[in-house]
Symmetry: D2
Subunit: 427 residues, 4 copies
């Protein structure tokens, strides 16, 4: 018998798990994290729902039940460093679920320390990425805590789960089978399973919840101006903040304040960009445990912010920085996806990225329309773009004659290669 | 006095150049390459235009004037190898102009050999990329041929060019200054200069010629199914080839034939995707000679084909292949952009990419709508995706228990790091 | 009950394993591969020893026992492709044991097919790399064959093994515990365990068998000239082949023949370089399964050949090739070490490396003395080194003035960075 | 007429240059930096020599002449960050000369600011790397200062230089032509030109000055124990500091003090390791301006320190850190070699490397003997090596059964590949 902290969602699987662990004689503390699953789009109405989850855990016999509002921490400690690496796993996925798992692991460990628990448990099965991310997250923080994955060791079919629930007084909210498996937080929403398991099958509209269908998208475009200051999101000045995004008065007031509430800004971008259908992602990706899976995501804010930041980087970083950063950014995404958030290499890449932060300063105008987020303008006091050098018009400051000497030297290796190939003896 | 082959467009600058070289006592052969500039969208009406260019060169006193239809060679020797590397310079630019320059260099060298010329000349100025690409292209094929860049050594202002033209009987087609500098071939269209030199300034609609404006795009989507066979483009079977792309009967007939004319398919994709506004690209990029410039492109076919090929790669290549290929593809794009097409490293990367070709076989469905080309389905007999392993439903063949052992080993390094940090002596 | 092919060394562990599998009712075919373990240094006297291994297996009840001379195949299919990638895991280890495991796996699969066996077995424990390499080698060739690792599932202590052997009539050659665990083939010899498990403890001389101790090394140096032709080892011409390597008349005659027997050349290099103490390697390395281990190797021929080939590459490959190949060579070593020899990425890297082969032509002189193999000269008809360009003496063909233009352009990004930092508003 | 700071060595070329600049009407300030050229081996006897250089400049008419002892700054700001990146250009060259040039550039700029000069000058010709490094060093610090390279624009032959010197009263120390061109500082000595321009020609013994010839090396080995503390060099404890390095009492007393004088330690290592012939390097390398050259170096301290640091990294960094750092270290070496020391990418890589510093703590024992520096032991409180996991003996803490699950998942992609290849339709 031990004391266990369980990552608890309030759903069927983790409720059965909670009950079973108690039945085995354990003391169980239920932990539920608020990472912005619902208010990503809809506002703070989530509080009541989370309170109900807490009450359910207690009703099922939990020693205690904890709900943590981790939204601000999620954005500050996980999303913003990842944004600095323009994370896009396999070029497509901004790692919304992946970034939340190490935070859940940290909350499990912290709660275990608070309650004197010697183990934590989660409801992941054996074939997903999340078991890896959570277990490595726990072990990387406190390898003395045991991690239990009961549903991996003894998979639980849905009929069995329902039967157990009925037999043990676990209320079941929706008995109708859901067509997809869903996970969501402020940085994005994941949709998998069901018909999506055939990669040739297009994504049905009912898979999407945050992004408007083509038929429902407005005819007009919205433009937002994102301001960065030393790598952080800053509120844009004056009337450039938002041109046409009517009707978001609540979020807008927030967003126009002097200090930026980054959580609110991300939520607001999800709403504004989602209304235009921005941020739908559909790919076959490579899971940590060695299989490919077809995954669908909605990540409006992530899509907009990464596009904007990359445009600013192209303006203010040197060519050699951009080329190397493409490699390091890829590695950052791989580490984050692969459950290695706590790898000291990730920390080292954070230090690398922090070195660019002062120049991640400026404004990026993004046009949202019909499923696309397109950068239409970028400016920065740190722009390496120099119109006097680049112009083809009057005022050209470029030393044209120098280019001849440049090319002469630059091409020397090719001359030599060509001469060798032209030599009869070697042809 | 020498015999020189001049890359001749028929425009003002190269016409003045032609006349000046003759006035200096040189024999000049004018070379004009047809790379699909105009028929990319509009069909083969370009023949008459190119004949007029040829006649103009002869009228100006050229020793001879040559027009080469290099479209098929361009696609086969330059575009397809680049597609195998998913070329996207700085993540954005599919290298349309960049890929054509080494071909122009090859044509210059071949023409020089045919006419016994000891030099070639081009009309590039000193600050662009094309001078580098053409000169290295020539030197890499025959370093014994001199390359002249008269407009780099003695820049020619537009007023001076017009004055010289008027004084020497050079006809000037359009005296009105054009707002942009344009270059185009089958793989894309480049737009630069003028108001575009301010990266904060949005791109005016009049900069675009191949892609429909938001207002002009159809309300309906088109779907095309691209079929790959061993890395080559194959015609898709039956009715999947094209669902809704009405009104392209000419190109369509071509595209549905048994054998694919890749030139026609690229031209057709430019038309079909361009009508939906697909392929607009706007970025600040790093030129070879060390300055940033703001460039705008239209590349509908390139956008669609690269998206499709990457989706197929995600389905059929292993994770370690995808991760390494991201690095090698980046290098391929850098070499191509930087004028190093003839670097033997590029050839080695071609051999690397050719190794994947058998598995680049399958079909990709792409939805064209409102400026976006979105992959909505992918399938292949070489798919590494295995529904029996990936499924969360019945028929699951995955060994869940193995995952526990996997994670135990996989996380060992992090355990050790965590234990060290927890040790009081080292904290 | 099934028919199993067992990788059989003739040692205590695999003999116990053989007997136990038979006792469980299986039919066991013993497979022993000759990869040059002993004749690497000592010549072909290994034949009798291998025959004794075969006889022992039959005496213990094996259905059949097979000895395969795989030396030539090992060098041709595994060592030479790895040499083309200059394999050095973590910069130090030329992968001698690692390269042999996929070959052993191939022999197991081929033998299983020949004997109609449905499983193969090996004697590896659960913490080494070889279990991974063999199992992935088998699965990558025929995933329908089961791989059994009885000593991983039920570890066998040495006392238990001896007790079992005594009880079941298994002859035990040496009852004295050996101080180290040894593995060897033509490409190198591995030494681990015992006092070596403390990385602070220097390697005792008795760990080494192929390389002379400092006290025993000759005072004179030997020089060998290695000739490469299209990436293959070719016999060097005339008297340059070997200057002072007296006393190797047998091997020498072999080595000076018209056609090179690569197996003999590698064995001869092991002898010649080993006599000078060349090829001792001592490092802490990262095993596939997540732990660090201290490993000691002797690899005289590998050390010499890799040093020679790299020198030739520096002479004949372009700078961009060398820089990229450093990355691809590292990946090649990682794949080979990590058991992923059959990854299609490895095949693609082979194609990449094959592209350089024509230029891997020339001669490299290597001086062997006192533990070091130092390249003292390199020449090639494909040398990109051009004395007329490089010289500081008379005959200089370099265009010095061009360098000024080169530097002007080359430094433009730094100018811009510096100007920004100097601007008061941004300082 | 302007005021110019000239990088002045006191040799023939820069003396002629000094005189010519004055003759052209410029005011010239001569700058000479002490980077440890001579005391690297021989102690501080260099002071008198440098004073003579200063006096010579003044005698030739310099407005002023400045000698800066920049040894400590060189080691602190240039050598130690480069050591953190294990710099080895093309795998061989520890960048001794390359690291000094940006410091000379900084001294030129600082002196120009002090004297109100608007230009700096150097005596490099047009084909070396140093012109690039110095000019980019100056422009990267103050692009408003002009950089003059008179010997690039008007190459000066040795006879012409001597004639000019005789005609203008410039004393010439050694009229005998030297066989090589030499450059040296604390981090190494470069030797080029003369017979070395033939890469097939072995390096004559007279090219070396810091490293003992094979005939002169002692029969005994020396062992040194290098201690690192947070990435910095720390003095080793007690008697382990030095076992047998007799006769270095002066440097030794320094080296055993409580605080380490890193300059003295580097100089001492040059002496101790040089006596054993350690640190000879001979390679064909790729210069920035596009040609290959054959270069010879002596770098005893660099060789020892880089080997030691890498051994410590292998012990204390994770596998993913080591793999990625190999890539970033290569980039660091390329930037440093290519004159891009002031690239902000280099600064970002410094931040990346600094992240590892705490774990670069421990001791490394290095054996110096007969031209080799071999690590014979390494230990650290941050070792990730864990004998309990690695051991094959008693006390094994490794979970062997987990390895089976690990391999099952780890090999899944290969299974799938193999199954596809085995399918008749696809074979």
């Amino acid at each position: 018998m031990s004391r266990i902290v369980l990552a608890y969602s309030g759903g069927l699987d983790t409720s059965v798990l909670l009950k079973k662990l108690i039945a085995q004689g354990h003391e169980v503390v239920a932990l539920t994290a608020n990472l912005g699953e619902s208010d990503a789009v809809a506002g703070d109405g989530a509080a009541a729902e989370l309170e109900a989850v807490r009450a359910k855990a207690l009703a099922l016999g939990a020693l205690d039940a904890v709900v943590v509002d981790a939204r601000e921490r999620f954005v500050r400690e996980y999303v913003m460093p990842a944004l600095a690496a323009n994370v896009m796993y396999e070029g497509m996925y901004p790692l919304s679920a992946a970034l939340s798992r190490p935070l859940i692991a940290a909350l499990l460990v912290e709660t275990a320390h608070r309650y004197g628990a010697d183990a934590v448990a989660h409801g992941c099965t054996g074939k997903g990425n999340d078991q890896v991310r959570i277990e490595l997250g726990v072990r990387g923080l406190d390898p003395g805590i045991a991690v239990r994955a009961p549903l991996r060791e003894s998979p639980l079919s849905r009929p069995d789960a329902i039967a157990y629930a009925n037999a043990h007084g676990i209320p079941i909210a929706h008995t109708a089978a859901k067509p997809y498996s869903i996970d969501a937080n402020l940085w994005g929403r994941s949709i998998e399973a069901g018909v999506l398991e055939d990669p040739w099958h297009g994504v049905p509209e009912d898979a999407y919840a945050w992004t408007a269908s083509p038929a429902a998208r407005p005819a007009h475009a919205d433009e937002v101006v994102l301001a960065f200051d030393g790598g952080a999101l800053r509120q844009a000045q004056g009337d450039t903040a938002l041109r046409q995004a009517q009707g978001d008065t609540g979020a807008l007031r927030q967003a126009q304040g002097d200090t930026v509430d980054t959580v609110a800004m991300v939520a607001w971008l999800n709403a504004v960009a989602g209304r235009h259908g921005v941020g739908r992602i559909d790919l076959v990706e490579d899971r940590v445990i060695g299989v490919k899976s077809r995954e669908v995501y909605e990540a409006p804010a992530a899509t907009v912010l990464i596009a904007a930041r990359k445009a600013l980087e192209r303006l203010t970083l040197t060519r050699d920085e951009l080329r190397f950063k493409a490699t390091s950014d890829q590695k950052y995404a791989e580490l984050s996806y692969d459950g290695l958030w706590l790898s000291p290499l990730r920390t080292a890449l954070d230090a690398f990225n922090a070195s660019f932060a002062p120049r991640i300063t400026g404004e990026v105008r993004v046009r949202l329309h019909q499923g696309s987020a397109v950068v239409t303008g970028v400016r920065s006091p740190f722009a390496l773009y120099d119109e006097a050098l680049a112009t083809y018009g009057a005022g050209d400051a470029f030393d044209h004659a120098a280019a001849g000497g440049f090319i002469t030297c630059y091409g020397l290796p090719l001359d030599r290669v060509a001469r060798l190939h032209a030599a009869p003896a070697l042809a």
